[in-house]
Amino acid sequence: MALDRWIALAFIALCCVYGYAAFFTMDDILPPILRRNPIWPSTFPKILAVAGIIVGLIVLFSAKPAAKAEKADGTIDLSRLGEYHIWQAIGLLALMVAYAMTLRPLGFLTSTVLFLVLGATLLGERKFHILIPVAVIGAGSIWYLVQEVLGIFLRPWPAFLV
């Protein structure tokens, strides 16, 4: 089964869960006074759930394998997934999660410089004498912009220093 049908199937499953919540569990906490309303908070989700299941089924059963037109080098094609640098992409995603977790404890400047340096290293950059200054200047100027110009607080240093 092609990926797009798996997605359609997952979508139908999602609609079922969503619809179950809308039809059976959501109205329990509705105060009696609101039950006199012609529209409940669950009305719109109910319509969406039903429509979603119908559309999902249509896609699931009508999707035909996309015509294999010749694709330019830059386009994304699942059949060539094996040739792609998939591990680099996964590594970068992991790095983004790590960045999210360390942003508060390590402070903005430290974690951003680490993120930029490690990200570029992961992609194959080895000229650290250029990379590290670029990362430090980049992180510093963004911090200045956000904190001083836009006035949004970003803790610059690790938590134990301040």
Binding site: W6, A21, L48, G52, T75, L78, M96, L123, L150
Partner: protein, 504 residues
């Protein structure tokens, strides 16, 4: 109208706003040139900055400058590298790249700049004429009609998604609508689908979603497939001048395509991509003999047509946004989200309640086009150097900007995890050829759609409004036809080539 123009001039022509136009155009051009980063990604990245400005006029001026700049930058990389940065400039590369190969890169860029300028400026004049008229009509609409109109908009977006894509686009729209219901509904302030998580109480943040849907997958694709970012040979670009005969031959093309592009842009779902392809096709059919032969081999008409049409369509897409509050494309949907965040509600009341915002945007369109022309013609050879930024530096910075954008909106690290999670989902969806713009449009329209639906239901004590208001019924029938017709026709003509499906 003159009075409006004066208001707009007064609001837009302040040193700060002029700086914003220039800044937006430059940023848009620079980033738009990078293959893979379209206007949607760029505007998504710029939104936190725009919202941080606090002033809706300045923010909208900045964002429309970015939008124009991105489209223009996209055509530069189409011409020089045959690597369109934006779907709307794919047609530009048909004739632009052959011209560059023939050593006429400078001339091609000049024609692109002039055509963009003319398309954008004529589009802005048409916008000025049509938007007030449309918003007068729109004031007569009730919530029932608004609901129906939004349904029409959403189904039109699905219908224009291309052959064989209608079902998928519809599915994405519904997914977006479903995601829009997460959090406290405006209706009863009852939390819905939050799974008891405090972070979901106010729903998903649209900036996070926009980043996750567009900027993140593009960056990941650049990582996975280095061929996506062709490395440019930064050769010298000379000979920017065009001759009088050439100017005379492209003038009628520009005139026709400005009009056609604008009206295509007004249609929800169509936008710059379709306008540019259609413009190219129409001009090829109109051209005679030897000129028709030239198309695809470096014809100046073939270059001028899509360039004019896509800029005019960009302007046209502001019409439904500013008069009805209904975005017709992914880009205007993001703009709508930004406006709502700035406490401006686009719609028919915008012109009466906040005329300065409305007219300032129109004035800033003129200024933006002028700035692009002045700025880019002499600077093109230098600007093109950005194509040589190594990807090892580019990609971590793009990822960092997406993270930053969603973090400073919410100041919450859970938001970043949501961003990464949705980014992965969006990448998988892209792999399976699911269009993502309908998802975002559905998400942004979802709340408004439900509000209007609820209001109509309450006024008519049930679903009666559908039958009692003829216009609502007519619009809903139109929406149904829009969805059903393409699949019906596709079934009949299945053997035809697959359509172009990409949001802009």
């Amino acid at each position: 109208m003159l009075e409006g123009l004066m208001i707009g001039l007064a609001a837009a022509v302040t040193p700060f706003n002029l700086m914003m136009v220039v800044f937006g155009c430059v940023i848009g051009t620079l980033i738009g040139m990078l293959p893979g980063l379209g206007p949607m990604s760029i505007i998504a990245i710029m939104i936190p900055v725009a919202i941080g400005l606090g002033d809706p006029t300045a923010a909208l001026i900045l964002l429309s400058g970015v939008y124009y700049g991105a489209i223009f930058g996209g055509s530069t990389s189409s011409i020089l590298l045959n690597a369109p940065g934006v779907a709307g400039t794919v047609a530009t590369s048909f004739d632009g790249y052959p011209m560059a190969r023939k050593g006429q890169a400078g001339k091609a860029l000049t024609i692109a700049a002039i055509a963009s300028f003319a398309g954008g400026t004529i589009g802005a004049i048409l916008l000025m004429i049509f938007a007030p008229a449309l918003s007068t009509v729109a004031l007569l609409f009730h919530s029932a009609e608004y609901f129906a109109l939004m349904v029409v908009g959403l189904s039109a977006i699905a219908a224009f998604a291309g052959t064989g894509q209608v079902g998928k686009a519809l599915m994405m729209t519904i997914l977006g609508l479903m995601m829009g219901t997460v959090g406290e509904g405006a209706l009863s302030n009852m939390p819905r689908f939050t799974f008891g998580m405090m972070e979901l109480q106010s729903g998903f943040s649209f900036i996070t979603l926009a980043m996750a849907m567009f900027a993140l997958p593009e960056a990941l694709f650049l990582v996975m497939n280095p061929a996506r970012q062709a490395q440019g040979e930064s050769g010298k670009i000379t000979g920017l001048r065009i001759s009088r005969e050439e100017a005379r031959s492209i003038a009628p093309v520009i005139g026709r395509q400005s009009l056609q592009g604008f009206f295509i842009g007004v249609l929800p779902g169509a936008g710059a991509t379709i306008a540019s392809f259609l413009g190219y096709a129409v001009e090829r059919n109109i051209a005679k003999g030897a000129e028709q032969e030239e198309f695809g081999k470096g014809s100046i008409k073939g270059l001028a047509a899509p360039e004019t049409a896509n800029n005019a369509a960009c302007t046209g897409s502001f019409v439904p946004l500013l008069t009805l509050g209904i975005p017709g494309s992914g880009t205007t949907a993001i703009l709508l989200g930004a406006l709502i965040a700035l406490n401006v509600t686009p719609g028919p009341r915008l012109m009466t309640d906040q005329p300065d915002v409305f007219w300032a945007v129109i004035i800033s369109m003129y200024i933006g086009n002028l700035v692009l022309l002045i700025l880019n013609l002499p600077l093109i050879p230098y600007i093109a150097k950005i194509l040589a930024v190594p990807r090892n530096y580019l990609i971590p910075f793009i990822l960092f900007f997406t993270l930053m954008g969603s973090y400073i909106g919410q100041n919450n690290h859970v938001e970043l995890l949501i961003l990464v999670g949705f980014g992965v989902v969006a990448t998988i969806l892209r792999f399976a050829d699911y269009p993502l713009a309908p998802l975002l449009i559905g998400f942004i329209l979802g709340t408004m759609l439900e509000d209007n639906f609820a209001r109509a239901m309450q006024l008519y004590q049930g679903f009666g409004f559908i039958l009692e208001r003829p216009m609502t019924l007519a619009l809903l029938v139109l929406a149904g036809l829009l969805v059903v017709l393409p699949s019906y026709r596709a079934r009949r003509a299945r053997k035809r080539a697959e359509g172009v499906a990409d949001g802009d």
